[in-house]
Amino acid sequence: MTLEELERDRAAHPGPLRDGKTNENPTGISLLSLVAEDLKTHGGNVLAPGFLALAVHRFGNWRMGLRSQLVRAPMTAAYRTAQGAVTTLFGIDIPYTSKLGRRIRIDHHGAVYIGVWSMGDDVIVRHSVTVGLVRRNATRAPIIGNGVELGPGACVVGEISVGDGCYVAGNTVLADSLPEGMAAIGVPARQVPKKQLLGED
């Protein structure tokens, strides 16, 4: 979907996250292949908390593709248990209703909350990152593009869109849309060309 389509869908939806009635995993790839790809993204470390959190997320979505409620019920029980474990032990909370792309890497665990309308491919999420609502009772969550990096301690909130290839610096609070190829740094965020901040790309 294009960014415009995503933004339109998000605006039309009653709540900040999707209703969770469907499997929103990336299409064209089986659950096992997707989990294998996530494992590869995390350096092949089956004990990486980021990988485990994502595996649970993928499973949570996959089970919504099961049509029979009878078959789905034990899967839901398993998903809820696993999600509780991953959230409690690692502090990585990604509701399955956040739509995630492929090859997302969660570098380190601890204080990670990802509530997005949609997140693209090849995103790097470091620890202590918050993506979600701008305040209590807000009703819109961010759209994160492909190849984005969210630095440690970053906060990305509100009805905003972070374009492809953007870099959100550490400890930055971003509550406005960020065009493609830009970087955000500061509290509140100042937007600068990515090249200016990082000296390359």
Binding site: G110, G151, G153
Partner: protein, 209 residues
């Protein structure tokens, strides 16, 4: 805090290779390598110093993380099967400590003496080198500017002796935090910090002391 056990400051005696200079000298004169007994003695001294740094709280997550790192380095110099088994055990212990307390010190980090990690939770110390008497708190990130695991050590920060790193600090890229510098809480450091300076803010700005 009781005074730490005596360790000399000879160049051979580093946390990377904690062996007494006397033992090194003797081995040199005999044309042999330092005996495993001496190496183990050096490691024991180093761990005792670390424990004293943590006021003898051996269950302190920071101490456990640092101690595991010391043994991990020691295992690298231990040849053969015992070395491999010890290295694997250390890797397992490091992963467990990361799981439970969220403190990760990657294997390549050169860690100085008397380093204190005051609290746990979101502590990722991916530096090239951390000097002596450096203090860290929780929610602290040392690492590359980009999150890709740094295959290049040159892309990682160097923290010099006596630096004091505030909670929430982010020190990213090939930057040097100078001797006894102070990095304020929640500060983003992407440029060198001169010795003795105080830096605060996002992005970090040197403030007059």
């Amino acid at each position: 805090m009781s005074s730490p056990p005596e360790m000399t400051t000879a160049p051979e005696l580093t946390p990377e290779r904690p062996v007494s200079p006397a033992a090194t000298q003797e081995a040199k004169s005999q044309g042999t390598s330092v005996s495993p007994g001496e190496q183990l003695n050096g490691l024991a001294n180093l761990l005792a110093e670390d424990l004293a740094t943590y006021d003898s709280e051996w269950l302190h997550p920071g101490f456990l993380a640092v101690a595991t790192h010391r043994v991990r380095k020691y295992a690298k110099h231990t040849p053969g099967l015992p070395g491999s088994v010890l290295a694997l055990a250390c890797r397992g212990a490091a992963q467990a400590i990361d799981w439970v307390w969220g403190i990760q010190i990657p294997e390549h980090v050169r860690l100085g003496r008397r380093v204190r990690i005051w609290h746990h939770g979101c502590v990722l110390l991916d530096a090239r080198e951390i000097g002596d008497d450096v203090h860290f708190r929780h929610d602290t990130t040392l690492g590359p500017v980009r999150g890709s695991p740094a295959t290049n050590l040159e892309a990682l920060p160097v923290i010099e002796n006596g630096a004091d790193i505030g909670s929430g600090a982010c020190i990213l890229g090939p930057v040097k935090v100078g001797k006894s510098a102070v990095v304020g809480a929640n500060t983003l450091v992407m440029k060198d910090v001169p010795a003795g300076a105080t830096i605060l803010g996002v992005p970090g700005r040197i403030i007059p002391s």
